[in-house]
Symmetry: C2
Subunit: 346 residues, 2 copies
């Protein structure tokens, strides 16, 4: 006995309590009514043997999966970590086990993870895709409840939860304009990510007579040379606006290494508020995404789907909060100096 896995089986418990296996199951799951005396005997046997259920058999037999998969592009990104952490709490509250995996920003790994998760027969999936295009390279099988969060796949066949990227970016750009900025370099990892694309378009739509220029710097460059070049010398823009977590961090670090002061030498704004942005001086103007709300919204949508709702795909947009801080100061005094320097633009 003892079997492959450790631990006693339900049959052993049944034998010890002098009842049948079905009765033990009924006691443990409360599905059918059991006489108090028997129930007590069973509980004692469970306690004595240290029995605990084998979910593999349990979930196999009862088609009820009570398992949900979560895939994020990168667990070390604090935003995604918060997302997962919130989901975990919600899942637990509703009696679901969560399988959390990170795709490490690699579409190939994403699809591989999806394959493996699927083999556990989850009741639903919440995915933050690492690439807009690859979100629909989902394994073919039967459609499974699926919520796509944060980043929008190219084909809108799924339930969707995201933030109001364009509006948030527009707010930042408008602010820069009001502060007197004349030109701004907008930086992001890649326009292949829907977030970055939407933010860039939102920024452009609100540019007014602020000159905008976009630069894609990719993921793994800590000090992107292309960016460094743009910040060096006479052509340096008055403002720098970073469209995602990675870029914001990399650019701010680069500014420091180049001896440029955020706010003083270059106005600086970014996405994805993190604690340090309030700790530095001057503090950094950022867009704060409502991660917890996004997680909660994703979970409730997924629950509805797992409950059997088969309506058409829904999309929800959550509003971001922009906090203006010292890193995007009024450009009055410095503008003349800057204008002098950037004669090439005139």
């Amino acid at each position: 006995m003892g079997g492959g896995g450790a631990g006693p089986s339900i049959r052993l418990v049944a034998e010890r309590a002098g009842v049948s296996a079905g009765t033990v199951s009924n006691v443990l799951n409360g599905k059918a009514s059991v006489a108090p005396a028997i129930s007590a005997r069973v509980r004692v046997a469970v306690e004595q043997l240290g029995y605990f259920r084998d979910n593999r058999a349990s979930r196999l037999r009862s088609g009820d999966s009570r398992l949900a998969g979560v895939i994020v592009p990168d667990l070390t990104n604090p935003m995604f970590a918060a997302f997962v952490s919130t989901l975990e709490q919600l899942g637990r509250r509703d009696g679901y086990d969560l399988v959390v995996v990170s795709a490490r920003n690699d579409p190939a790994e994403e699809v591989e993870r999806l394959r493996r998760i699927r083999e556990w027969r989850p009741a639903g999936l919440i995915v933050i895709p690492c690439d807009g295009a690859l979100a629909e390279r989902l394994p073919g099988g039967p459609p499974m409840p699926l919520v796509v969060a944060d980043r929008i796949p190219d084909a809108p066949r799924f339930d969707l939860v995201a933030v109001d990227n364009a509006e948030a970016a527009a707010a930042v750009v408008r602010h820069l304009g009001v502060q007197g900025c004349e030109d701004c370099l907008v930086v992001g990892t890649s326009l292949a990510i829907s977030n970055v694309r939407e933010r860039w378009e939102g920024a452009r739509s609100a540019a007014g007579n602020l000159r905008l220029d976009f630069l894609a710097v990719g993921f793994d460059d800590h000090a992107p040379p292309a960016l460094e070049e743009r910040l060096r010398g006479a052509g340096r823009p008055q403002a720098l606006f970073c469209l995602d977590h990675e870029t914001t961090l990399a650019a701010y670090r680069l500014l420091g290494e180049m001896g440029l002061g955020a706010g003083a030498d270059v106005a600086f704004a970014g996405f994805d508020e993190m604690e340090w942005m309030r700790l530095v001086a001057p503090a950094v103007t950022t867009v704060r995404q409502p991660v917890e709300a996004m997680a909660a919204c994703s979970w409730s949508m997924l629950r509805r789907r797992m409950g059997g709702d088969a309506g058409p795909p829904q999309a929800r947009r959550l509003r971001c909060a922009v906090t203006f801080r010292g890193s995007t100061p009024r450009q009055t005094a410095s503008r003349s100096r800057e204008a002098d320097r950037t004669t090439q633009g005139g």
Copy 2:
């Protein structure tokens, strides 16, 4: 037939390919040799039906679990996130699925998570306990391969991977002494956590004639009032040394809110290097823990246990790196001023 979970069963594939279920299994797992013609037919059928294995049945039947559980106190702590992320990569490399859960710094939740994970019959567990005492309130059952990381349970019955806490803290304290500090307030969440305890003891052992004082501030206080009181007014210590991630962040934020400059008004050092510590001015002196190495070490120890090794528990200590930066400056010039202010201490 579709059954409870979605997707076709292995029997359907077998029927379609005109073979038996066992043969399909053999083709898919390569355990026994199958004639090339049959193998091809089976693969075609698999492809056409979109078959994929049901791990619940698979792992149930073959006792092989190929599943490992990971429990950390808090996924939003970047150190633990990095730990998990590394583990995930290693697990995948070795063909293991990982179940990752966070205990949210709550021992009760930790034990509840452990219970639930256990029901999936994992082959092993890697735990960063949220509390030294509660690590051995493990569910009773049969002993399972288990590696405890980062924090040391009170009873050393398990394999253990941790860092050289005492030595790292001692290095920081020695540095403070050399810089001319006379008194230092040491802050940590709780001495119930072995890390904090070891660091505090290491600090004390290296104090020399530097006066040390310890303050426990708990977890959820963003601006711990007790700490604020100690930093206000005449009794303010010359140096502040924070013994863990949470405290370092909270204390640094508090300094800012109080208008005190780290380095200028109070020498400041902390544990758990994070990116912003290099971004602020002056940069923060910190102890960097080798998280990735800790994860790799945990995994290799667990693999050995899962492979059947039943030797006595082993313990490994990894070395931390201390980076001295501007937040712990030489106190020569300012010491006289400070001494003037802290007349009560003279």
